[in-house]
Point group: C2
Chain length 399, copies 2
């Protein structure tokens, strides 16, 4: 792909035209909007008497990063320096602090967006990035999901029901063994059969060998079943490598991939959306942590950058996300469909069949249900049936 | 650069030969060593009666990520599944848990290294990655700093004294204004004059325009002063963009750049080390946080992946790192020089001249002292003198 353009009106306009589904904005409007503000919302723990200083300190840290005395140009103080929009006291010594940042400090780079939202402030132990509000022009620069929930559903032929997904694992299996597993799961009719996020390019199952073997296995299964199961390889490495991986996937007729943006770098997600418009992108939560950036803020960020679906740990599984956290994640992915396409929530992490009714009651049918280990724990000869049960139950309950 | 090789003995050997300063390992030894274990050290908060289950759970989560019942191949249980090496009770309900992971699950990818160390476990609120121990073959795959502290010092002509550095800021200044500032700081004789980490590719100071202007300004200052000041651009974007940025920097005769690996993705740091052996790499701590991965573990990781210097917040500045934390960071960068080159610790974040004696007493002369805003707060006509004072004091005290 081309390098990022230098923020000229022409460059921005070209990029907007490339971004499907985002209304083009006239240059003059864009110019004005880029002088608008990106709002970052932090939770800050502080003594009440110090909170105003803390808030101003964060506004400076996340913008000019220098004592105001070192700024000689009044236009920079006015236009570029972050400002405190509001401070609201919450319980337990915590405050909600809203900081307005100049959208022009972002340019068009996803890494710089993350940097401006939380780069240095990640080093404060008592500051959490809880949310952000992107102005329209910046939202248009990134563009959000190219395909979104509805397109994932259409591709899978899953109208009116929840989507189903499963992970190929464990690490250490050879490419043929993973392909054998993929064949059975596809025969069972699961919509999206994805690599475990620990499958990268290891000697026991090199990327190209695995992708070719699993893609072929699922094609064969689809030919038998008449269904539309999709294999979803896990991308690894820097963007130059990712482009090569996409070529391999495309040559096998695939159209969906998984990426962990906090491993690959958020720029890789952004670049992938631009370079590979035919692919739907499933974001994995590895390295997103839960403590210092709110999970729903990650969901919102990944959707903005182009993720069509986002995997996250559901309550009651192996991780500790609360129902409230998961409700916020789902909202971050599915609300505001007038501006960005809706992305699919993918609750996961220790899910099993018994939880399906609860999951579908909680999320409704606009969801992708991901079951991993519990499905693979079925006896080898029963995996097709276990997959069929999963698909049938998801379709029955999730209408 | 070429895509990562598929871990064949030939590929690995080629990569080892490319990695300067790392003794080549014979293929047979490499093979054996890659079956060795990478040890991850976690701090885990747990009820004592549950800690053994928690530790086993982490070992599975960070390796096969599936119930052991789903693993049918005994070789995978033996070779690939993580194992608990030790559990040690500490105070306050915390335990040190050492988990051995198979080095072969990493392949040769930095992202996968981070993923295996902390990908999913970052989602546990009560688990901190505190350290890791890389087996020799894996260390050789990544190779550590290509240049290291001594080379930085030799390039700057700073034998026997601490290195000095300063950041160009604030955001919002035009390229000519930043170049004017760079000229004054170089006249003052500061060794490394780096972009603020918030300077990416914004309209107010596009990357190429800024790099060409600042490089020229510092060349002019060096011609006047007879010194060796170096301009250090801040890289942004995905690796394809970074390669283009490096070409611009190289065309201006530069040999040092800054990168924030948790913004760009650790793979970009790894790839940069391999594709651009002429460049020394300074790692910035944006997005490293302080709460869930220990700061010294980040220092160790970035050094392993090729950083020649690492910036971190010093006690008494704007951030909350303790002296003990900083001591551990410095140790992670400078010990074990027999295996990896030493990287330069770069304490920063609200530093000023008055702190120099304390800093040099704490770190000794094997350090790069970075002063930002306080130097730039000097009146415009005094910046050259302020820079000279900084350099003189650093040289006087730091011998």
């Amino acid at each position: 792909m081309q390098g990022s353009l230098y923020g000229s009106a022409i460059g921005l306009s070209t990029r907007l035209e490339r971004a499907q589904g985002v209304p083009a904005i006239r240059n003059e409007e864009t110019r004005r909007d880029l002088s608008a503000r990106l709002q970052a919302v932090y939770k800050v723990r502080s003594e009440p008497r110090l909170i105003e200083d803390r808030a101003r300190g964060i506004a400076i840290e996340q913008s000019v990063e220098t004592p105001l005395a070192a700024i000689r140009d009044p236009a920079i103080l006015r236009r570029i320096a972050g400002t405190v929009a509001s401070i609201e006291e919450k319980s337990g010594g915590w405050f909600d602090v809203r900081i307005d940042l100049a959208a022009e400090t972002i340019g068009e780079d996803a890494g710089q967006l993350l940097n401006m939202l939380f780069g240095n402030c990640s080093l404060y132990e008592d500051v959490i990035l809880d949310d952000f509000v992107s102005p329209p022009a910046l939202t248009a620069v990134f563009g959000g999901p190219r395909h979104g929930l509805e397109a994932l559903r259409a591709r899978a032929g899953a109208e009116g029901r929840a989507l189903t997904a499963v992970a190929l694992k464990p690490q250490g299996l050879s490419a043929p063994a993973l392909a054998d597993l993929a064949f059975k799961l596809a025969l069972g009719g699961i919509d999206f059969i994805k690599d475990d996020h620990g499958l990268a390019n290891q000697r026991f199952s090199p990327f190209e060998e695995r992708v070719r073997a699993c893609a072929e296995a699922i094609r064969k299964a689809n030919a038998i079943s008449g269904k539309h199961s999709r294999y979803v390889p896990n991308l690894y490495g820097h963007f130059g490598e990712i482009e090569r991986e996409i070529e391999i996937a495309r040559s096998e007729g695939l159209d969906t991939v998984m990426i962990a943006p906090m491993i690959s770098g958020v720029c890789a997600l952004q670049a992938l959306r631009q370079s590979s418009p035919d692919f739907a992108l499933i974001a994995h939560p590895a390295m997103t942590g839960a403590a210092r950036i709110a999970p729903h803020a990650f969901a919102k960020l990944f959707r903005l950058l182009g993720a069509d679906a986002f995997i996250f740990p559901n309550p009651g599984g192996r991780f500790s996300f609360t129902p409230e956290t998961c409700r916020k994640i789902a909202a971050a992915l599915r609300t505001g469909a007038g501006v960005l396409k809706r992305a699919a929530p993918v609750p996961a992490g220790g899910m099993d069949l018994a939880r399906l009714p609860g999951l579908l009651d909680f999320y409704g049918p606009d969801v992708m249900l991901l079951i991993g280990g519990s499905l693979l724990s079925a006896p080898a000869e029963s995996i097709v049936h276990a997959a069929e049960d999963f698909v049938r139950e998801a379709a029955r309950i999730g209408r």
